[in-house]
């Protein structure tokens, strides 16, 4: 059997690095489409194992085994038919990786190193979903068989380790997530906290949605005119109010998000004083992402007010991105180490049956020789027989130890294919480790016993 020198794995797909969003969205697969695509891939190209990872930033087919181009060609065809007509050929947007490159790529993906925002955490869950979707398909053999099963399990574990032991996921890398993180550090639980949204900017909306996911309930939307506040309030399941009612609303809220297009501060210090004549009693998080600023900066000097403007948030995000970028080398080291581990594991898949057969045959020889020896030495006491038995076992283990270790190491180093061939030739075993037809079997005790009898007759005659 021809065995590849590298891992027989392949990945083909598009990502934010190879295709613009217009193309990525055409090549994205919904969960039900993904299952269908995997089944088609198997029926078209006979791919044994496949997983499809499809998110807003990437769509990738992972294939095993990929010893010829059939699987890749079928996956590319699936992309082409799914995307329909594009301005350029589909192949122009696709990237391909083979062998160990696939392992490294998936580990980088699950660790967030290949994400648009380095270190983003959502990808870990998306990789898990893709893997579980493949494993949940009721097909035989399973779509995520032993190899991709192991590969994805390791990818999830590597992603977790990279996040735990490096700064790759440190801090928030978007303005909305920084707002949520700040709110959590001030209030602990956000359950039941109230938010006032001033203006109707998209970023403020994103922030409110993120806060709502964390349990924020009372949402007030204030705008210059009540009519303009109503649509956003309805969308966020909140209450609309006009700006002239700010003084009444302020004491009730814990968080203010502001993003109006007003040319002057909509929350001047005098208005704040009016709302809190003796100062604020509870903490207030105020996030002002408007330019020019909506909230008078002097309000930030109030003791229980934590005021952040767009520059403050951008600086925090930039700091976090810098910290994350600095963590990439450490993350790559973890990925490298586990890629090596996967290669060793895969190599062991091939070499284990060969080693097992080699040892079984050697053991059969040993047992046959021991029986033959004991027949000629019938006077030996039981304890002496046991000693000889132990001696023969030790000798066998010592003789086989080095070849076994070197064979394993050879496989890991990528030069093991020839070694396996050599062992198979010497021991006469096939790819699964079974004795090949025509290979000499270890002599049975009966045959050898007959030989001894003939020899002893010859000697006595």
């Amino acid at each position: 059997m021809d065995r590849p020198k590298t891992l027989p794995l392949a990945v083909v797909g598009v990502s934010h690095r190879t295709a613009p969003v217009e193309v990525r969205e055409r090549m994205a697969f919904a969960p039900s489409e993904a299952e269908q695509a995997l089944l088609e891939l198997r029926s078209l190209a006979g791919v044994e194992e496949a997983v499809l990872l499809s998110t807003c930033n990437r769509s990738e087919f992972y294939l095993f085994p990929a010893v010829d181009r059939r699987g890749l060609a079928a996956a590319e065809e699936l992309f082409r038919s799914h995307a329909g007509d594009l301005e350029r050929p589909t192949a122009d947007f696709l990237f391909r990786r083979h062998g160990e490159g696939v392992v490294r790529h998936l580990f980088q993906v699950s660790s967030g190193l290949d994400s648009m925002v380095t270190g983003e955490a959502e990808i870990q869950g998306q990789v898990r979903d893709a893997y579980e979707r493949a494993t949940s398909l009721q097909v035989h053999p399973p779509m995520a068989g032993p190899v991709l099963n192991r590969l994805f399990q390791m990818a999830l574990s590597v992603g977790g380790q990279v996040r735990a032991h490096t700064a790759i996921g440190e801090g928030s890398a978007s303005v909305a997530s920084v707002a949520v993180e700040l709110a959590r550090k001030i209030f602990g639980s956000l359950r039941g906290k109230r938010v006032l949204v001033m203006g109707a900017g998209a970023t403020a909306e994103l922030m409110v949605e993120a806060l709502a996911r964390d349990g924020v309930r009372g949402i007030f939307v204030a705008n210059r005119t009540l009519e303009r506040a109503v649509p956003l309030a309805e969308k966020l399941h909140g209450h609309a109010l006009s700006m002239d009612r700010l003084v009444e609303a302020l004491p009730a809220v814990d968080i203010i998000l502001s993003s109006t297009a007003a040319p002057h501060p909509v929350l001047p210090h005098s208005l704040f004083r009016e709302a809190f004549p003796r100062g604020r009693r509870r903490p207030l998080l105020a996030i002002d992402i408007a330019i020019p600023r909506d909230i008078d900066p002097r309000i930030g000097d109030e003791s229980e007010v934590f005021l952040y403007n767009v520059d403050d948030l951008r600086k925090i995000v930039d700091d976090h991105v810098r910290v994350r970028a600095g963590a990439v080398p450490a993350a790559e080291r973890i990925i490298q180490q586990h890629s090596q581990e996967f290669r060793s594991w895969f190599a062991s898949l091939e070499v284990v049956p060969v080693i097992r057969n080699m040892r079984e045959r050697a053991e059969a020889h040993r047992q046959a020789e021991i029986e033959r020896l004991f027949r000629g030495l019938a006077h030996l006491k039981e304890e002496d027989r046991a000693r000889v038995e132990v001696f023969s076992r030790r000798l066998l283990n010592k003789l086989l130890h080095d070849p076994t270790v070197r064979l394993r190491k050879g496989m890991v180093d990528g030069a093991g294919a020839d070694l396996v061939d050599a062992v198979r030739f010497l021991y006469g075993v096939d790819a699964e480790g079974r004795p090949e037809e025509g290979a000499p079997n270890p002599p049975t005790s009966r045959e050898e016993g007959e030989g001894d009898a003939i020899q002893s007759k010859e000697r006595s005659g």
Partner: protein, 269 residues
């Protein structure tokens, strides 16, 4: 020897918390540090049990024995916080107090008092135990308050660095501080009540002008002030945190002054 082991375990737990803080609150630091605190408290309990078995009295009298028991109450309080995610991080501020108490106890020797106590029996045990609980309550509030002030400063300075990530939320620290002060206040009030009841039964043995009595009254007053400051308008949480830290420092400082100026004071004859 067992006390020494407990000391090193508390110290080890503190070092683990600091390492976790410096790493930017990454890795499995909290689990390991929490486990070490758990072991330290168990070992410490064994050490105090061994003291009881050896001398036939609770380790409450004598500076070394009392300090060890005080540290143990702190260890128990920390142990109670361990299951609460993030809150256990207050250990980084509380463990130094526990470790120093136990360290001093080891230095002065953990043995019964050289002199026979006048105040004995269950009343004495309750008096000292409640007093320890009271001081540890304030120690806990002070540790939480200390972290609150740092986190408040980080938020005001708009920094999201190691301290920001490590220290629990302001609201959590405030709640912990409140619990510490209230538990401490009630316990110290009970301790003083038991002490006062004893002085009523044995008039003339200890006077109000005794430094230790004055110190106990000062401690109670500190608690009262910390609680009163919380009731005012504006910056309640911040004021309360600051008051806990300053109040605890004042109690510690005044204790040291009393020990240095009148080492023989207390319930000794």
């Amino acid at each position: 020897m067992i006390h020494l082991l407990a000391f090193f375990l508390y110290l080890g737990a503190f070092i683990l918390w600091v390492r976790f803080l410096l790493s930017g609150a990454r890795g499995d630091g909290p689990n390991v540090a929490s486990a070490v605190v758990g072991v330290a408290v168990v070992v410490h309990a064994a050490a105090l049990g061994s003291f009881w078995a050896r001398y036939g009295e609770l380790p409450l009298a004598g500076p070394g024995a009392a300090l060890s028991s005080l540290a143990f109450v702190g260890g128990m309080a920390l142990l109670a916080l361990l299951p609460v995610r993030q809150v256990s991080r207050v250990g980084v501020a509380l463990l130094p107090f526990i470790t120093v108490c136990l360290g001093i106890a080891l230095l002065v020797g953990i043995r019964p008092s050289d002199q026979a106590l006048v105040f004995q029996g269950p009343g004495f045990v309750l008096h000292v135990t409640f007093a320890f609980l009271g001081y540890q309550g304030l120690a806990m509030a002070s540790a939480a308050g200390f972290l609150y002030l740092i986190q408040h400063h980080e938020l005001k300075a708009k920094r999201m660095g190691r301290f920001f990530h490590f220290i629990p939320p302001l609201a959590t620290l405030d709640l912990l501080g409140q619990i510490g002060v209230w538990v401490g206040f009630v316990a110290l009030t009970l301790a003083l009540g038991f002490g006062w009841a004893w002085t009523v039964q044995h008039p003339g043995v200890i006077s109000l002008s005794d430094p230790k009595v004055l110190w106990a009254i000062l401690s109670w007053a500190v608690f009262a002030v910390v609680l009163l400051l919380r009731r005012g308008r504006g910056r309640r949480e911040y004021r309360s945190a600051l008051a806990s830290v300053l109040g605890f420092s004042l109690i510690l400082g005044s204790y040291l002054v009393i020990r240095l100026t009148s080492p023989g004071s207390g319930f000794l004859p």
